[in-house]
């Protein structure tokens, strides 16, 4: 038989009208099963509300047999009414309940009562933020801060500085981190509203089952990250920045300054990686910018080549390839430079092979590949490639000559 916890003032609770109606039906004489019918809500909703209120200490349940839906928490409880009486904003926790968890340890340098409070508090860490702090959902910043300060005094790890408190040290850490989080979110006007909206929706885990089930393992999943106060603020700032960069970028794009455009749009993405439109625009801008850069590099590279400055030309070709990896001619030229100019056969082979892959029908590319293999002493490979050249162009004299010069099998 559910009934209102002693000392609990329903007027202080953050309830919707429907919940308020349900609460008004609870008089300590109406059994759970009947409440499901007369509560004004679908039975499943009634169950959820009641279970939540029980876990929050708003309700206490007498005689578990009375209700038709078994509640997981009911079975092991024998301590009676007192153990389940919690003042409604749950800042303090009943002691007997914690003792039953059997995790306290008298040998530690922390009073057993404090251990019990810590164990109980830890179980409630998944509750909505305002409940963790023990304030009303619409509490003002001042009340939030006061509650946070009070709880800090009890649960800050420094309270037991240098004492042997065994497993309670990590527990305090977890509790305090959650307190900081709750405080940050509820004391910042920017995040308060969102948190409160989230609270208005039903809490994720069915309250009783999740909170009362034994030993509250530290949450595996983190609280919703996007809610963090500084991050929300930062997010808005980032988005604004991203917008600025994007606009600058598109302006440059219109004027054909591709590289400037790409740089700005890249910054925009870095600041706001969630914006799909910007990402799409980026692909085009990036392509144009790459083309422009590649052109520029190739021009410079060819100029160097004309002056026979192979050492200068090679890195420029390689960089151009970075922007235009699918250009067979550039791959081929780079391969020849790497082979003849830098004698870097490994690199040369890679570029030549890439050129062949892109345009398998061009005999000149394959001939170069064959010659590089030959230079590297990979005779079998060289023979294979040169023979392939002759298949494409049976009149290729150079390939024939190279083939003849290969050592016999």
């Amino acid at each position: 038989m559910p009934q209102l916890a002693p000392g609990c003032d329903p007027a202080q609770l953050p309830l919707s009208p429907a919940e308020g109606y349900l609460l008004s039906r609870i008089d300590g004489r109406t059994p759970w099963s009947l409440l499901r019918e007369i509560g004004g809500l679908p039975p499943s909703e009634v169950d959820r509300c009641l279970e939540r209120w029980v876990s929050e200490g708003i309700l206490v349940v007498n005689g578990s047999a009375a209700k038709s839906t078994p509640i997981p928490q009911a079975a092991p409880r024998e301590a009676g009414e007192e153990s389940q009486t919690t003042p409604c904003p749950p800042a303090e926790v009943p002691r007997a309940a914690a003792a039953s968890s059997g995790q306290t340890d008298e040998s530690l340098e922390i009073p057993v009562e404090a251990q019990e409070r810590i164990l109980e508090f830890e179980k409630r860490l998944k509750r909505p933020y305002h409940e963790i702090l023990g304030v009303a959902a619409n509490a003002d910043v001042k009340a939030v801060k006061r509650a946070y300060f009070e709880l800090s005094k009890e649960y800050h790890p420094d309270r037991y500085f240098r004492r042997n408190i065994g497993p309670f040290a990590p527990r305090l850490g977890r509790i305090f981190k959650r307190l900081v989080e709750a405080y940050e979110l509820l004391s910042d006007p920017a995040t308060r509203a969102e948190v409160q909206r989230n609270v208005a929706e039903p809490p994720p885990p069915p309250a009783v089952a999740a909170t009362e089930k034994a030993p509250a393992e530290p949450k595996k999943k983190l609280p919703p990250i996007h809610l963090h106060a500084p991050q929300l603020r930062a997010l808005a700032e980032r988005k604004a920045k991203a917008k600025g960069f994007f606009e600058t970028g598109m302006a440059a794009f219109k004027e054909g300054r591709w590289r400037e455009a790409a740089a700005s749009v890249r910054l925009a993405i870095a600041f706001d990686p969630w914006n799909e439109a910007v990402k799409e625009a980026f692909a085009e801008v990036q392509h144009k910018a790459n083309e422009e850069r590649a052109e520029q590099l190739l021009k410079e590279a060819n100029a160097n080549l004309d002056l026979r400055r192979v050492a200068e030309a090679l890195p420029l070709f390689e960089e151009a390839l970075h922007y235009r990896p699918h250009d067979p001619e550039v791959n081929h030229t780079t391969a020849r430079l790497a082979w003849l100019g830098a004698e870097d056969l490994k690199k040369a082979k890679e570029y030549a092979a890439r050129a062949c892959e892109l345009r398998p029908e061009v005999s000149a590319y394959r001939r170069t590949l064959g010659q590089i293999y030959k230079a590297a002493g990979l005779i079998a490979n060289a023979r294979r490639e040169l023979e392939a050249v002759l298949r494409i162009d049976p009149k290729d004299a150079e390939a024939k000559r190279e083939l003849r010069s290969l050592p016999k099998k």
Partner: protein
């Protein structure tokens, strides 16, 4: 268990305090002074001198007298602060094997933690003499802008000095603790700290015995010495006008002028006129010349007004960071000798619309706060809890060389925070997590604390995979970072340890050496 002392390890002066019968007490040294110059020297006959003894012979033995070594601690040799010090200091600063600045006196080279340790050891000795019992535990203060390396080096210094450093806390925070001790009201406090070389401003909130840092700001290149320099320049000009002699090239004369200017500046805090008298400061064909110049408070204020106004600008931006208006500040606490200057007090009063708190001594308040924190950590009844904060923002490097902050500076610790990140390329199978610390938006301008790779991400379009990166700072300030692939549950993590400029072995070697030295002394 012995008592815990609080040490304000200052750039120019240090101070030690202890709790006696529930009240904080500043301990005077053997000379009866409550502050001790942070100076160390090796005298001509090879004796090691610390504090007032070192200061007294500083002018005649400038090359072998080390002061303001706090400016060097925890920095790299190439840092601008170190290079500036090399220009200004008469003692020799050399590059150490860890790229750290070290000081060479004669044959011996001292690391910065070692130099700080010499001061700390002196403060420990002062306390032990006063208390008549050995002291082991200490809380030491550092400027709010000190980074992890500087903090760790200060901790190492404590270790070398034979101290167990319970905590390193921020100087302004300590000042607020000293102010907030035994106060039950809810108040917002501004701590304005203008020292010799740096300016710090912190805004804190006190409520039911808990102290929380709301915001900090400052300028590491702005302090009382800038005022001295202005006055020296003024004196040089006036002397040149009157006598036609430029003293700028004369090191001895400059040193005398600098000392005199500092003294005049202090005088002018209580008097309207100060006379600067330096006989025989130079000589020319006419014979010896004397410098005799009267400086009024008005002149001095005219010379330095813009410097002091700069601090006011910083205070305003710090208020903005804290989300407060100036009227919401209930109490202003002044720290640092420079705040004795009437101009500073007037501008601060003007800004906040109320006079600064008078109950604390700006030279001693920091040590007092450190002692209070030490006592409060160890005692049974906790009547004051400091919610300590991270000095610098923590985060990771993201695409495009940006720095994504996950934990903003001044976040209360212990703390845990996470954020979802994603890939930047199609079918990207691994992400590299580079853990950074600092305030710059550009990744490369922050300090790299560590890095690791999370691999095995399922092939997907860029932007689709979700990798949750979490930062966790525990009660001892140890930072762990983990990255978790939401799809596969795969996780990688790293623990980031604060490191100073010395390795454990080096610290141990220095401790051993010092023990040898102590033994020698006693013989």
């Amino acid at each position: 268990m012995g008592r815990v002392i609080g040490i304000d390890l200052g750039t120019t002066n240090s101070c030690v305090a202890v709790m006696e019968n529930g009240q904080p007490t500043v301990i005077p040294n053997a000379g009866g002074y409550k502050t001790t110059p942070s100076m160390f020297a090796i005298s001509q006959d090879g004796k090691r001198l610390v504090g007032h003894l070192a200061k007294r012979q500083a002018i005649t033995n400038a090359r072998n007298t080390v002061y303001a070594s706090k400016r060097l601690i925890g920095r790299r040799f190439d840092a601008p602060e170190v290079q500036k010090a090399i220009d200004l200091c008469p003692y020799e600063i050399v590059r150490g094997p860890n790229d750290d600045p070290r000081v060479r006196i004669g044959e011996k080279t001292f690391t910065c933690p070692e130099l700080s340790a010499l001061i700390l050891r002196e403060m420990k000795r002062v306390a032990e003499e006063h208390l008549g019992e050995p002291v082991r535990d200490a809380v030491i203060t550092v400027p709010a802008h000190f980074n992890d390396t500087q903090r760790q080096c200060t901790k190492d210094a404590g270790k070398i000095a034979g101290l167990e450093v319970l905590r390193i806390i921020n100087e302004p925070t300590a000042a607020a603790l000293a102010y907030g001790f035994a106060k039950k009201r809810e108040e917002k406090i501004a701590v304005y700290d203008l020292g010799g070389g740096t300016f710090d401003i912190s805004i804190l909130e006190l409520g039911s015995g808990v102290l929380e840092v709301l915001a900090t700001g400052g300028n590491t290149f702005l302090g009382g010495e800038d005022l001295d320099r202005r006055l020296v320049a003024h004196l040089l000009e006036r002397f040149q006008e009157a006598e036609g002699i430029d003293l700028r090239a004369d090191a001895m004369a400059l040193q005398r002028l600098k000392d005199a200017a500092e003294k005049a500046k202090c005088d002018l805090s209580t008097r309207d006129v100060s006379e600067i008298n330096l006989p025989f400061v130079a000589s020319d064909a006419r014979g010896p010349r004397h410098l005799n110049i009267e400086v009024t408070r008005e002149t001095l204020e005219g010379l330095v007004d813009d410097i002091v106004r700069q601090t006011i600008k910083i205070v305003e931006s710090c208020l903005h960071d804290a989300g407060l208006t100036r009227e919401q500040i209930d109490q202003v606490v002044l720290v640092g000798g420079q705040t004795r200057m009437p101009l500073v007090q007037n501008l601060v009063t003007e800004l906040f619309g109320k006079r600064p708190h008078k109950g604390v001594n700006p030279d001693e308040v920091v040590a007092v706060g450190a002692a209070i924190q030490g006592e409060s950590l160890l005692s049974e009844d906790k009547n004051l809890l400091l919610l300590d904060v991270t000095p610098l923002s923590l985060g990771i490097a993201t695409f495009g060389g940006h720095f994504a902050k996950l934990i903003e500076r001044n976040t209360t610790v212990p703390v845990r925070k996470g954020h979802i990140f994603t890939t930047t390329r199609d079918n990207q199978s691994a992400v590299k997590i580079r853990v950074l610390q600092g305030e710059s938006e550009t990744a490369a301008e922050n300090d790299l604390l560590g890095e690791f790779v999370l691999s095995g991400i399922r092939p997907a379009r860029k932007g689709e995979p979700e990798v949750e990166v979490s930062f966790d700072i525990d009660a001892n300030g140890i930072v762990s970072v983990s990255a978790r692939d939401q799809a596969t549950g795969k996780e990688q993590s790293i623990q980031v340890n604060a490191t100073g400029t010395l390795s454990e072995e080096e610290i141990q070697r220095i401790i051993d050496e010092n023990e040898l030295y102590e033994v020698q002394l006693k013989e």
